[in-house]
């Protein structure tokens, strides 16, 4: 009886071993494809970490960035934050020479990057935290 079980289980074990192999190769394949894509495009995005509920953007959502992304309270901006602490044209995130920058547009309350108030255009990296008014974003990409 035990022998029969062992004989059947050997197929199960070999099957499982190949399942693992297949999974490993699949992960590597997607990994390879992903890294090629990143070389061609800069696909950065902003993740909303925190925002007041009335501001029009919801916590946890991901906002895509364009070559030039304007942020502010005015309706003509790309990212509109309806918050009294945010100026009409508050900040701009742009891509120059394949790199991502953020610039404050002389806003009343300023833009905070990683805890420091922005003075001039600064480069952004994945993982940076940006605070605009009461909203808080994280750069992902």
């Amino acid at each position: 009886m035990v022998k029969q079980i062992t004989l059947i289980l050997r197929f199960v074990v070999i099957g499982l071993i190949y399942v693992v192999l297949f999974k490993i190769i699949k992960v590597m394949y997607t990994d390879l494809k992903g890294s090629k894509k990143k070389d061609r495009f800069l696909d950065y995005a902003l993740e909303v970490l925190d925002a007041p509920s009335e501001s029009g953007i919801s916590k946890g959502s991901v906002l895509t960035l364009h070559t030039i992304t304007n942020i502010g309270r005015n309706q003509s901006n790309n990212i509109i934050i309806d918050d009294p602490y945010v100026s009409s044209y508050h900040a701009r995130i742009f891509i120059k020479d394949d790199e991502l920058y953020i610039m404050d547009l002389n806003s009343t309350n300023g833009t905070i990057k990683n805890g420091d108030l922005l003075k001039e255009a600064e480069e952004l990296y994945s993982g940076d935290i940006i605070e605009i008014g009461r909203a808080k974003f994280k750069v992902i990409g």
């Binding site: 035990v2 022998k3 079980i5 062992t6 004989l7 289980l9 050997r10 197929f11 199960v12 074990v13 070999i14 499982l16 071993i17 190949y18 399942v19 693992v20 192999l21 999974k23 490993i24 190769i25 699949k26 992960v27 590597m28 990994d31 990143k38 070389d39 800069l42 394949d98 990296y125 994945s126 990409g141």
Partner: protein, 401 residues
């Protein structure tokens, strides 16, 4: 990405537990399950430490060796459970050293400046066995310290890689190449005298790969191949043990009860396994001499079948590929060459021993990395993995910076 890795880890644990429960069923004993549980805890805890604190590196460089190690542990447990407990101790020590290297080695390129020191250490380690060594199983490559025997050639490999990685960058012309290769050929010569031919072959493999990748000049390869061929012909006529190994390889059946016994038994074992294997615990690996060590691949082939053996080879292939990938993305030439050296070391070691067991090349006693029983080999291989992990962590970030 992370969920994928977690599901792979989960599957590895399921396979491990399944294999140990087969053993528990067939022996009607609960103790295999304890060993299985212990292995699973080790797998999960080491993976979670790495993925939590060192998430930048390539986690597959840990996941794959952990999986490969389970093949070895289960096979050793099935052959000789007392040895398996010792092997688990080595496994834990190996993981410990791996963690120490990953945590404390900040910048690998700082190790670049001691290049001649590495060469001297490697040569001293290898020559130490000539004076203080002990002959075990026909090779004078063991050092005995108290109760334990260590194999200095395993540790010398590690230093040789570091030496070559720091020295190859200075090679500009043929004279430099000759100069840097002198310590390597001294090492190989010592190994041949000590009758550790497999290690000599691996040293040569590492050397030729690293020189080719470091200089991308075919001239050096041809020259060192020439030296190698002349050296092998010379040692064939000079040393009796080389001739014996060769004769066994040509026709093991001629002396099948004595010298050719090991290779004949392992060929029979592989053949009796067939495609799906005899099933765990149902083969007869105890017929093969040195089965827990050199010939463990034959035992795996017998009980897991051709498919299991192929899976193991594929895992090694993926591991070497990941190592080379880390080399491509490494932040400087030194770390890149070290990664190439470590990957080629694993690759050549697997080739030399699996090739030997299946009678593709003459059988020489080297260990199958992460699988064979042996403390020196286990600890050293995990140390190498730690370095590789570190290299994969500090990769060049071309896109974002």
């Amino acid at each position: 990405m992370k969920t994928f890795e977690k599901s792979i880890i989960k599957d590895i644990c399921i396979i491990t537990m399944l294999l140990y429960s087969i053993l528990a069923l067939s022996k009607m004993d609960y103790r295999p399950l304890e060993v299985g549980g212990l292995s699973c805890i080790l797998i999960i805890s080491s993976y979670s430490i790495i993925s939590k604190f060192f998430y930048k590196g390539d986690k597959f460089l840990l996941i794959i060796p952990l999986f490969i190690t389970q093949f070895g542990l289960i096979m050793i447990y099935r052959i000789n459970s007392a040895l398996a407990f010792k092997q688990i101790v080595w496994f834990v020590l190996g993981l410990g050293i791996y963690m120490i290297i990953v945590i404390f080695l900040r910048d690998i390129s700082r190790l670049e400046k001691f290049k001649y020191l590495y060469a001297i250490i490697a040569i001293l380690l290898l020559s130490s066995t000539l004076f203080f060594g002990k002959e075990i199983k026909g090779s004078r490559n063991w050092l005995r310290i108290g109760k334990y025997s260590i194999q200095p050639s395993e540790i010398a490999k590690f230093f040789l890689i570091f030496y070559l990685a720091s020295a190859i960058q200075d090679v500009k012309d043929f004279k430099d190449a000759v100069k840097i290769s002198i310590p390597v050929f001294i090492c190989i010569g010592l190994l041949v005298v000590e009758k550790d031919l497999g290690a000599g072959l691996i040293f040569f493999g590492i050397f030729i790969t690293m020189v080719y990748i470091g200089t991308s000049d075919r001239k050096f390869i041809l020259a060192s191949l020439g030296v190698f061929i002349v050296g092998s012909i010379f040692s064939y006529f000079k040393f009796a043990h080389v001739r014996t190994r060769f004769a066994i390889w040509i026709d093991p059946w001629k002396d099948k009860y004595d010298k050719g016994n090991q290779i004949c038994q392992s060929l029979l074992a592989i053949a009796s396994g067939g495609l799906f294997g005899t099933g765990l615990g149902l083969g007869h690996p105890e017929f093969i001499p040195e089965v827990h060590n050199d010939c463990i691949f034959a035992a795996i082939c017998e009980e897991f079948g051709l498919l299991g053996g192929t899976a193991l080879i594929l895992l090694y292939l993926i591991l070497v590929y990941r190592g080379l990938r880390a080399a491509i993305n490494a932040k400087d030439n030194f770390s890149s060459l070290v990664a190439v050296g470590i990957s080629s070391m694993i690759g050549f070691q697997v080739f030399v021993i699996i090739g030997g067991v299946i009678k593709m090349i003459p059988l020489t006693g080297v260990t199958l990395p992460f699988v064979s029983y042996g403390g020196s080999s286990m600890i050293l291989n995990f140390a190498c993995l730690g370095v590789l992990q570190k290299i994969s962590e500090a990769r060049r970030t071309v896109v974002y910076e």
